[in-house]
């Protein structure tokens, strides 16, 4: 439009013409569109992969992306894009980025953004928007993306100028990763991405007002906390997702092992402490192990690190760790005493604070008797299930068989339901960033698209998705991009022909009225997988399990295994919602 090559001014002398041509060349070299600034900002932040779906309002950004080395993965649904980005963020530690259009392109992301928000996962959503002069007019594919996403983002930014849009994207990337991680969004009106600018985006930074939490906690508080912990008779560590997010798993291991303190993990904290260590009591809470919940209920000092004391973990507040003085390490001051009063609030980065505590410990707690008690609880309340060979396959067995066959560092993604809980309980997590799940929001359908994002973040690592038949049905279209990208992933469906977790609750709390929970009308998943171009497998009995797992693992590309499992197996132990962790049920009669 505004190309300034002299065309009609041929009257100009040869000299001046040459000069002005030089000048204008220089100008066109500097002038780019807002969309290019968006892409430049992504490149400056070393974004390598983006996920999304095209659409009118975002087309300028896609057009600019065509000239970039960034690998864009078109997903079949924006929800899948957001989960893929979320998993990418969890596995790589760097923000996962989505690029989608306005209106439905933005609203389809909402579930994924809310999911990332509850799990503090770093994702950046770039959404197209109608041109600014049409905003508010109910234009085609206009939705108030800022308004809708405000409560579920750490920050969202409405880009207003091609000169600043690159910085807006940089800010969103920086904010998603800085401090307590979380989702951010930049809404990109089409006129902003199509207008010209000469401004290069600067290095990504967080807004000046943003309070960057200190790495180290107040040393006096650390000292007091260390003294209390060292004097404890029944010390316990509760390790949350923050330990993984801050790369503090090594420090945690050293600390727990040196001072002989048993460790319970939250669900997002799975993998932060190796479950094959004698001090590991594994996951606590609603479907946590009996020994983890006994330890939580009887400890006298509880060191919670990077956890928000979610209600699925605490059960009823009144009965949570009722005898414990609480030391709470968190990077977000707003988490301190939100749910559980912190007697020793330590605000800082998990790794740095663990090191501070380590240095401040006056000695080792005298906790041998307590450790013995935790070992007794392990013996008294063992995790387990029976496998009568003439009955349907137990879903827990499938999880263990997969774990046995898979690489030690394999990454597990999950859907939501019973299968998620079995995947949490019966897989042995030993490394951080190997548990990739929808912990806080409980989003059915998370597993398959998350496997896509996880595999792209860690191409050399094995990725396994545990899904339910109901959950997989919600996002099975993610297999299409997995086939196109030739991602070597395995989706294991624990197919019980029920939305099993609902059926379990109906049996337990609704007089066994299994209303609308029988899902025997789903597709044949092996055939569905083949239709997508993936390898489809099926296992009906115990004897078929080793073979299908081997086939799936041997196949270079996505495989889907439809495991037909016991339709009425239940997840235990269970602490009913709001219940007392010490009173976990081991069977229906205990509820």
């Amino acid at each position: 439009m505004s190309k300034s090559h002299p065309t009609n001014e041929s009257e100009a002398s040869a000299d001046t013409e040459e000069l002005s041509e030089e000048a204008s060349d220089e100008q066109t070299a500097k002038k780019t569109k807002g969309a290019h600034s968006v892409v430049t900002a992504l490149e400056k932040a070393e974004v390598e992969i983006t996920f999304g779906v095209q659409g009118g309002a975002i087309m300028p950004v896609y057009d600019a992306l065509a000239d970039s080395d960034i690998h864009h993965v078109s997903m079949a649904h924006e929800q899948g894009a957001s989960h893929a980005a979320d998993a990418y963020g969890i596995v790589s530690g760097k923000p996962g980025v989505t690029i989608t259009t306005s209106g439905p392109g933005a609203t389809n992301l909402v579930t994924g953004i809310a999911d990332a928000n509850l799990d503090s996962d770093p994702i950046v959503s770039l959404t197209g928007q109608v041109p600014q002069d049409m905003v508010g007019n109910d234009a085609f594919q206009e939705t108030n993306t800022m308004g809708i996403t405000s409560p579920i983002t750490k920050a969202n930014i409405f880009a207003t100028s091609p000169d600043t849009v690159g910085d807006d994207v940089g800010t969103a990337l920086a904010l998603a990763a800085e401090g307590r991680q979380g989702p951010t969004l930049v809404d990109l009106p089409k006129n902003v991405t199509t207008s010209e600018t000469e401004v290069e985006p600067s290095e990504p930074t967080v807004p000046e007002a943003y309070q960057v939490p200190p790495d180290e906690a107040d040393p006096h508080s650390v000292e007091a906390a260390a003294e209390t912990l060292a004097a404890a008779d029944r010390p316990l560590i509760l390790s949350g997702g923050g330990v993984i997010k801050s790369e503090a798993s090594d420090q945690l291991r050293e600390f727990a092992i040196e001072y002989g303190i048993p460790v319970v993990t939250t669900m997002p904290g799975l993998g932060s402490f190796p479950e094959d260590n004698a001090l590991a009591l594994e996951m606590g809470g609603m479907h946590g192990t009996g020994y983890a919940n006994m330890a939580l209920s009887h400890c006298d000092v509880l060191l919670g690190i990077g956890t928000r004391f979610d209600d699925r973990l605490t059960g009823g507040i009144e009965t949570f760790a009722p005898e414990a003085e609480v030391i709470h390490v968190d990077i977000d001051p707003a988490e301190i005493s939100k749910n559980i009063h912190a007697d020793y609030p330590l605000i800082g980065d998990a790794g740095a604070v663990i090191e501070q505590l380590h240095a401040a410990m006056p000695g080792e707690p005298d906790a041998e008797a307590w450790r013995d008690r935790t070992m007794e609880w392990k013996a008294t309340y063992p995790m387990g299930y029976e496998t009568p060979q003439d009955e349907a396959v137990k879903p827990q067995f499938v999880v263990e068989a997969m774990d046995e066959a898979a690489a030690d560092d394999a990454i597990v993604t999950t859907g939501v339901g019973q299968h998620q809980m079995w995947a949490a309980q019966y897989w042995t997590y030993t490394e951080p960033r190997t548990w990739v799940s929808s912990n806080g929001l409980g989003t059915m359908g998370y597993g398959a698209p998350a496997a896509v994002g996880a595999k792209l973040a860690a191409p050399d690592t094995q990725v396994i998705a545990f899904e339910g038949d109901g959950s997989f049905l919600m996002t099975s279209q993610a297999i299409a991009p997995a086939v196109r990208e030739n991602l070597d992933i395995t989706v294991a469906i624990l197919n019980n022909s029920y939305v099993g977790m609902i059926r379990q609750w109906q049996d337990a709390f609704y007089d066994e009225r299994r209303y609308e929970s029988e899902w025997d009308w789903g597709p044949d998943f092996a055939t569905l997988a083949e239709a997508y171009g993936a390898q489809g497998l099926r296992a009906m009995g115990y004897d078929e399990i080793p073979e299908v797992i081997e086939e799936a693992f041997a196949y270079d590309g996505p495989s889907v295994i439809d495991f037909h499992v016991d339709p009425v197996a239940d997840v235990y132990p269970m602490v009913p919602s709001g219940g007392n962790n010490a009173e976990f049920a081991l069977e229906a009669d205990h509820l």
Binding site: P151, A209, I317, P333, I336, S337, H341, D343, T380, F584
Partner: protein
């Protein structure tokens, strides 16, 4: 799954209150609500007010008033929020506010000077009576129309409540109030 039933297990003895505080026999009672004024300096940008009010609404904080206005620095706005909440709630509110990316500082205003502006449209059958009452309450009648007199008043929330109650004797047609603005006293900074 193996193991003794819940009633056959060893039981912890302690308890927490609903605020997650370990119950200490000395202070078993739950905290009582307290009224306080919170002041926040935020970036003067669109969306910040919506975000903050959304935040308070979601947590069902008991807000008496929330006002926003410019400050001496034109890039910033001051929010003044009057809440009545039990102790952990007030602390939570401050922390949630502080963690917003556009918030510069947050404080509970100690020894606050609090004022609110009200416009009160009073029935005009006795204009001089209305004017006299307005003066008594430190305000003034700012406009007399055919049937109503409009009074302007500033004062603390309680003073304005009292004034409005007093004007009821003439009949009050409409009231518009601004909510509380507050500054810390002396050289102490507000937020």
């Amino acid at each position: 799954m193996a193991g003794p039933a819940p009633e056959d297990r060893e039981k912890p003895t302690g308890r927490r209150n609903s605020q997650g505080i370990r119950i200490d026999p000395r202070a078993e009672a739950e905290a009582k609500p307290r009224r306080t004024v919170i002041s926040a300096l935020v970036d003067h940008k669109p969306g910040v007010l919506a975000k903050v009010s959304g935040l308070f609404a979601r947590r069902q904080f008991n807000i008496e008033s929330l006002t926003v206005g410019p400050t001496v620095d034109e890039t910033m706005a001051r929010m003044t929020i009057v809440v009545e909440e039990p102790e952990p709630g007030i602390e939570q509110a401050k922390r949630q506010l502080r963690k917003q990316v556009h918030t510069w500082s947050v404080r509970e205003v100690e020894g606050a000077i609090e004022r609110e502006l009200a416009l009160i449209k009073v029935d005009g059958h006795d204009p001089s009576g209305v004017a006299a009452l307005a003066e008594m309450h430190g305000g003034q009648a700012v406009r007399a129309d055919d049937e109503v007199v409009t009074v302007e008043l500033t004062g603390t929330e309680a003073e304005i409540d009292a004034a409005i109650a007093a004007f009821e004797q003439f009949g009050v047609h409409e009231v518009a109030r601004t909510g509380t603005a507050a500054l810390a006293s002396g050289t102490r900074s507000t937020a």
